[in-house]
């Protein structure tokens, strides 16, 4: 879905640049888009994602705020009712826990509880931390919470193109959207179309094709899945890799269609296992695709613990490509080595790459 007629020349951008690009395009094309959050106009511009916005669009539309996550979420709701399209950002999802009443009792239900008269087109960007000592209160992935609330949409893009296309779609969606950016993705590169490029919410993207196992993934886990799937191909195991992109509404058709082909399902998640969306997908696949499944659905998620800070304690803690390979191997009943895969990794286990030097 492309709205404007601008040419869409792809360029190579980082994920953070793609987010920034989407914000520029949205704000330029619609004066009702506003953008605020702690630090949007500071020298770090939220990892570069809000760069240039205040200079270009002024401090009425782009502004810093008091440390008051709850009220500022309500302000977004009210501004949206008043005709604006607020885009709010939090440097970590964890800070947004202060605003659950406004999100759930307000934003999610406004359209419903007033009989469909008003909508709340807000977009809330939440950054997911991981590793490098981010620890128990800077690393939570709570998309399962949001997906459990009727009325909310939840977007978790993996690559720069999707980050841009889905952010534009989120901003112009009439519903409240949680837009989750994994910190480990901000520096990944990819080709990104120019202009008002939108990708419909609620559609998964098939990143790899195969008939051995359906792998359903989202956000950073898809990066690990890509390594795993490409490694598995060397052993002639070909997986279907579905990157969900939107966690709510979820693209059940795509999931079930793939399971119909492969008969085997592995779901990945960045969140704690119990109560995860990976569980929801496994459950619904079992319920709806019972006769299609050749073996039990599987999931790989974070263990049910808070993320500790120490370099020592996070060693081996996060699910990675080798775990995915092992799970697929078990599903298809093969022995597949992972040494090469592991050896290829040169940066310490707690950083996404050389570019990440801390502190957050």
């Amino acid at each position: 879905m492309t709205v404007s007629g601008e040419p869409r020349v792809p360029r190579t951008l980082t994920y953070a640049e793609a987010v920034n690009d989407a914000l520029h395009v949205a704000m330029a094309s619609d004066p009702s888009v506003i953008c605020y959050g702690l630090g949007v106009d500071d020298p770090k511009t939220i990892f570069g994602t809000t760069k240039g916005l205040q200079t270009r669009f002024g401090d009425q539309r782009v502004f810093d705020m008091p440390t008051a996550e709850a009220a500022m979420t309500g302000v977004a709701i009210g501004a949206a009712l008043g005709g604006m399209r607020p885009v709010m950002v939090h440097q970590r999802l964890d800070f947004f826990l202060l605003a659950m009443d406004q999100l759930v009792n307000g934003a999610a239900k406004w359209h419903y509880m007033f009989g469909g008269q008003r909508s709340v087109p807000i977009t809330i960007r939440l950054i997911l931390g991981r590793g490098w000592g981010q620890g128990p209160t800077h690393s939570q992935s709570l998309h399962a919470w949001f997906a459990h609330i009727p009325g909310l949409k939840v977007v978790m893009p993996t690559n720069p193109e999707d980050a841009k296309g889905l952010l534009l779609a989120s901003i112009f969606d009439p519903n409240p959207v949680l837009f989750l950016e994994h910190r480990w993705l901000h520096n990944t590169m990819g080709s990104v179309p120019e202009g008002d490029y939108r990708i419909p919410l609620g559609k998964a993207r098939q990143l790899r094709e195969g008939d051995a196992v359906t792998i359903v993934s989202m956000s950073y886990m898809t990066v690990e899945a890509l390594h795993a799937v490409d490694h598995l191909r060397q052993s002639d195991v070909h997986c279907d890799l579905l990157d969900l992109r939107t966690v709510s509404p979820l693209d059940w058709d795509a999931v079930f269609a793939s399971v119909r082909r492969t008969g085997r399902l592995l779901v990945l998640d960045t969140a704690a296992e119990t109560g995860s969306i990976a569980g929801e997908i496994a459950a619904r696949a079992a319920i709806e695709c019972w006769t299609l499944l050749k073996s039990a659905p599987q999931r790989i998620a974070m263990p049910d613990i808070p993320e500790p800070t120490s370099f020592g304690l996070t060693r081996g803690l996060h699910p990675r490509a080798e775990h995915i390979v092992a799970a697929v191997a078990a599903l298809v009943g093969k022995q597949i080595g992972v040494d090469e895969l592991v050896a290829r990794r040169t940066v310490p286990h707690d950083v996404p790459g050389d570019w990440f030097k801390g502190p957050f």
Binding site: V75, I77, G78, A79, L81, G106, G116
Partner: protein
């Protein structure tokens, strides 16, 4: 609580005075009628009446322009009506009918009438406060001269979100009026277990950075005059303000009954406030001033009763929404 109506209040234009009295009497009658019929069990939702508190709603509603915005709380009937909200749609909503202002999804605690800028009332204490501030932000950004009125109770100001929202409103000089009805109670809890002794709410608001005023919430003239002055300043771009009016809820917190017997407040306290019934006081004042005759008031009462009974008939006669409708409008 003051013993008498403020003598200092400006005598209002007769047309306006008439409108204020009419609105107060109308709200009173609607609420009394809800209370009377509630035990029938057809209004099946938590319902918080404003009987005793009509002056604020009537005066504030009269001050605000139709295109000004307002958000309310669990106790919103009076504010909604004062702002001009449809009576029929409100009653139908309380009856859970498809003709209700929220198509039966929200009940008494979730009122909306977009035609008159009543943008919604919500049931979570404090929840609508920042939303009202956000409406003001939108008005400011769009360059309109609308004012957003945020109705709050003395309990709601204890929520952190009030403080956060007020601070932001001051920082951005937003066109918001925080309108606090201090009725001394939050459910059954007196102020003493919730707020420091001797600390005034408007004093607190002033320290947050809001312009403030306060007054006798049972004197509709006083509320009108003070609110009009404050709203004028807000509309002129002088930044947000906080108005605190002292008043009293006559009946139980939620539901139709009197509850002075159950122990959290005294009959004497209630009677003292009842002495200062805002409707009766104003009626007497206007009759004394010759604005009305007793007969004129009777005519008014008849008009009100007709409108209200018609509205109840509308609500009762309207159909329920189809069960399947429950699945609509989850997303837009």
């Amino acid at each position: 609580m003051r013993a008498t109506t403020l003598e200092t209040s400006t005598a209002l234009e007769p047309v306006l005075a008439r409108a204020l009295l009419f609105q107060m009497k109308r709200i009173r009658f609607v609420e009394e009628e809800i209370a009377r019929r509630y035990p029938e069990g057809l209004m099946r939702c938590p319902t918080h009446l404003s009987i005793g508190q009509e002056a604020v709603a009537a005066a504030v509603g009269a001050v605000l322009r139709r295109d000004d915005l307002a958000v309310g709380t669990h106790r919103a009937h009076a504010h909604y009506l004062g702002k001009g909200g449809s009576l029929r749609a409100m009653l139908a909503e309380i009856y859970g009918k498809v003709t209700g202002c929220s198509r039966g999804r929200g009940g008494s605690m979730h009122l909306i009438d977009l035609d008159v800028g009543f943008e919604g009332s919500t049931a979570i204490v404090g929840n609508s406060i920042p939303i009202g501030v956000g409406l003001a932000l939108a008005a400011q950004l769009r360059g309109t001269d609308q004012v957003s009125c945020v109705f709050v109770g003395d309990g709601a100001i204890e929520e952190g979100v009030f403080y956060e929202a007020a601070n932001f409103a001051v920082v951005r000089r937003l066109p918001v009026v925080f309108l606090c009805e201090n009725n001394l109670y939050s459910v059954y809890s007196p102020l003493s277990v919730r707020q420091p002794p001797g600390r005034s709410i408007h004093g607190l608001a002033a320290a947050v950075g809001l312009a403030t005023d306060h007054g006798d919430g049972n004197d509709v003239d006083e509320v009108y005059v003070k609110t009009a002055a404050a709203v004028g300043r807000v509309r002129a771009g002088e930044g947000p303000c906080f108005l605190e009016y002292a008043t009293y809820r006559w009946r139980e917190h939620c539901g139709p009954n009197y509850d002075n017997d159950i122990g959290y407040r005294t009959e004497a306290e209630y009677l003292a406030w009842r002495e200062r019934d805002p409707v009766m006081l104003y009626e007497r004042k206007l009759v004394a001033a010759g604005v009305f005759t007793e007969a004129g008031i009777d005519v008014m009462q008849v008009e009100i009763e007709q409108e209200v009974s018609d509205a109840f008939r509308f609500a009762e006669d309207s159909p329920f929404p189809e069960p399947a409708e429950a699945f609509e409008h989850v997303y837009c």
